[in-house]
């Protein structure tokens, strides 16, 4: 099946999914915290819009609720909370130094290829109109993971974590038209609690090590055992 045979709505879904992937890369490469939070908010909005479009095209009414939930939570509430935290911790102007941005991004690209490879058998099962968005969502998940591994700033790690959640949500929407509502509510609740806990932790960490750099969270390394 070729792209040109798809209705406009599906094309829109594909474009939005690709944009969500782009925001993942933007998140990965953003060195300024505030810009990274913006990218995250855009990603949330993209995921919400994809959800709404899928809901419209498949007449799944409970997905509208999920879309609204995502929009409210991922693109408004959590970014707002993070912004407030960044302001309170005086980190607005902070620019994180990334050692090898090109390596960072190329690894990201490799992860996209890997996700494509992993999800090939899933695609073969016939996803119909949402096509291989599963590969995109797995990429978003893995890119979030990669961001958590490669970035040294606590807030950047949290953004990676939350963007993983975005990817998971996208996977659920794209492959199965969303999980049952009760599960989705549970997941959303967990995400919200996690966001609040992250906020609490920022304060604890910045109090205890006077910085939000995870490289300084090294008291419990195994090396220390020998000294």
């Amino acid at each position: 099946m070729n792209m040109s045979h798809l209705p406009l709505l599906q094309q829109g879904i594909a474009v939005l999914a690709a944009l969500v992937l782009f925001t993942s890369f933007a998140l990965l490469a953003q060195t300024r915290l505030t810009s990274a939070i913006h990218s995250f908010a855009w990603q949330g909005a993209g995921v919400a819009l994809v959800t709404a479009l899928v809901a419209y095209s498949s007449h799944t009414s409970h997905l509208y609720l999920s879309a609204a939930l995502t929009l409210g939570l991922k693109s408004l509430l959590i970014p707002w909370m993070l912004h407030r935290l960044v302001r309170q911790l005086n980190m607005e102007r902070l620019v994180e130094n990334i050692a090898h941005p090109a390596v960072l991004l190329l690894t990201g690209a490799a992860l996209v290829i890997f996700s494509y490879w992993v999800s090939l058998p899933i695609e073969k099962l016939g996803l119909g109109d949402t096509r291989n968005i599963v590969a995109i969502s797995l990429s978003v998940v893995l890119l979030g993971l990669w961001m958590m591994v490669s970035r040294r700033q606590v807030i950047a790690q949290v953004l990676g974590f939350m963007s993983m959640e975005n990817g998971l949500f996208l996977a659920a929407v794209a492959s199965t038209r969303g999980m049952p509502l009760v599960v989705e509510l549970g997941v959303a609740f967990d995400v919200l609690v996690a966001a609040v806990l992250f906020g609490i932790f920022f304060f604890h960490i910045s109090e205890s090590i006077e910085s939000l750099d995870v490289d300084r969270l090294n008291r419990l390394s195994e090396r220390e055992e020998h000294s």
């Binding site: 099946m1 070729n2 792209m3 040109s4 406009l8 094309q11 829109g12 594909a14 474009v15 999914a17 690709a18 944009l19 992937l21 782009f22 890369f25 490469a29 941005p101 090109a102 991004l105 690209a109 996209v112 290829i113 494509y116 695609e123 073969k124 016939g126 096509r131 291989n132 968005i133 590969a135 995109i136």
Partner: protein, 321 residues
């Protein structure tokens, strides 16, 4: 594809070439004009660049005594390669006799040839500015070319051809389709175009006073008709990228037959599209500040990333069963 020996076809090719030659300075003038208006200046007339060229051709060409043959030959080579390149691009109509040579990779090669001689000429005299400009130009192009090729491949994979004419035909035939890969390729190609044609934020075409200049530094030693050719070639390149962007991604209006009406329609369409693009460029140049030179690689990385994502999204989202 039209008959290779069709006379009318070749006439249209000739017409396109002339239009390019005249249109390129006008496009540059248009951008300058809009920019001036955006900055609350009256600005020069749109035909000012044409008049500048005319004036430069009338002046004596001074050549530094350290210059070699390369320095003298470079303007002609650069201009000729630009001219050949533009004559391949479908401006008004698609199925022209020149179309069989209108391969995207040939185009990239021709542009590279021109750039190579430009850089050589910059270094030839041995002035410090020229060498600096050349090395910067090569850095920019080394980073921009992969992105450009990637964008080209993305388009080619959708259209199953690297021929410009076929790609345009393919897009025309399919009508408006939201393709994520095209979106990324378009954005990436625009970034590349800005870098390659030396516009803000990569280079500033309006000044000779900055230590960060790239293009102007290389042609600093030229005067008279040599300078005119160099300027003209640069303007041709700008228009080439402009036409590529508007005709590849928004091909509507381009003539597919060779009737006078279709051609006139094509001319009107491409003029309107280029004028709009000129406005976009002018707005961007007004809003953005020129970035520091060491930020340029990051900027081009972004372009590369975008085109790479275009390729990925083509493979992931647009192919398959």
């Amino acid at each position: 594809m039209a008959d290779f020996l069709s006379l009318s076809g070749w006439l249209i090719v000739l017409l396109q070439g002339i239009l390019f030659l005249l249109g390129a300075p006008l496009l540059a003038g248009w951008i300058r004009f809009v920019k001036a208006r955006l900055q609350n200046r009256r600005g020069a007339r749109i035909i000012q660049p044409l008049q500048d060229l005319y004036k430069l051709f009338g002046k004596e060409a001074l050549v530094a005594h350290t210059a070699s043959l390369v320095f003298r030959a470079a303007p002609y080579v650069v201009f000729a390669s630009a001219l050949v390149a533009v004559s391949l691009v479908p401006l008004l109509a698609t199925n022209l006799p020149s179309a069989m040579a209108a391969d995207m990779i040939v185009l990239v090669g021709l542009l590279a040839l021109g750039r190579f001689f430009l850089a050589l000429a910059g270094m030839d005299v041995g002035s410090s500015f020229g060498g600096m400009g050349s090395s910067r130009e090569m850095m920019v192009s080394a980073l921009a070319e992969p992105a450009m090729l990637m964008a080209v491949f993305t388009l080619a994979m959708s259209a199953h051809s690297t021929n410009l004419s076929s790609v345009v035909d393919f897009n025309l035939a399919n009508g408006l389709i939201l393709r994520p890969s095209f979106l990324f390729a378009l954005l990436g190609l625009m970034l590349v175009a800005v870098a390659e044609t030396g516009r803000i934020p990569v280079d500033n075409p309006a000044t000779h006073l900055e230590l960060t200049m790239i293009h102007e530094a290389m042609i600093l030693e030229y005067s008279g008709r040599h300078l005119a050719l160099m300027e003209w070639a640069a303007q041709l390149k700008l228009m080439l990228y402009g036409v590529l962007i508007v005709n590849l991604f928004f091909p509507w209006g381009i003539a597919t037959g060779d009737t006078a009406g279709a051609l006139l329609m094509g001319l009107l369409a491409v003029t309107v599209k280029l004028l709009l693009l000129g406005v976009v460029v002018a707005v961007m140049e007004t809003v953005l500040a020129k970035m520091r030179l060491f930020r340029v690689p990051q900027y081009l990385n972004l372009a590369f990333l975008l085109t790479l994502l275009g390729l990925f999204s083509h493979i992931i989202l647009e192919t398959g069963t």
